[in-house]
Symmetry: C2
Subunit: 117 residues, 2 copies
């Protein structure tokens, strides 16, 4: 675990729906794909291998009727990745959930962190 | 990852204060110690080795002027463990933080889980 000098509260929220899991890793990847339009660029930003990112995208797209990422191969750039409307809906909800959770937990977290100093 | 049939939202909150970290594992252990009065019983309830539990207690007690668990050795029962007043204060705050975070994040989590079904 890296040493951190400041007080921080870190919240990780995972959603389990049947055997699907959606957590911070996949959501961060989705947001980087949205930003860069490229799976390899998104993977790079996260210090993640392309293979690993590809595996996560497959999971994000497991419901084939509603993929979250559209991959297109070929072209000079070596293919692009695009977050679908459904993917963006999920991402937005997840981010709202994180913000709401953090906002509510924050004051307690800061009190705890001060007590632990 | 175990399959879960129901929709669940699982939130894990970690507090980083300097190089100390306080998260769900240590807090769950603390609550089991409080319940059982014994480190080995608490470890057993969590499916954790005694050694591992002991390591966590050492971290909980790193600030020697304010330990969270009081261990006493010997006796027929092989020693007892007791959550200190400071330990209980930390535990209570952590549980309040979890409840507040979950309550705020819950509605978004349930919407997400339904979308993912």
């Amino acid at each position: 675990m890296p040493k951190r000098k400041t007080l921080t509260v870190r919240m990780r929220i995972r959603i389990y729906a049947g055997d699907r899991m959606l957590g911070p890793g996949k959501m961060e990847l989705l947001s980087h794909i949205d930003e860069t339009g490229s799976l390899s660029a998104a993977a790079k930003q996260m210090g993640m291998s392309y293979m690993r990112a590809w595996t996560l995208v497959k999971e994000l797209n497991r419901d084939r009727s509603r993929p979250m990422v559209e991959m297109s191969r070929g072209g000079a750039s070596g293919g692009t990745a695009k977050v679908t409307r459904f993917g963006r809906k999920i991402l937005t909800l997840y981010q709202k959930m994180e913000r709401a959770g953090n906002k509510a937990a924050g004051p307690y977290g800061r009190r705890l962190a001060r007590l632990l100093k």
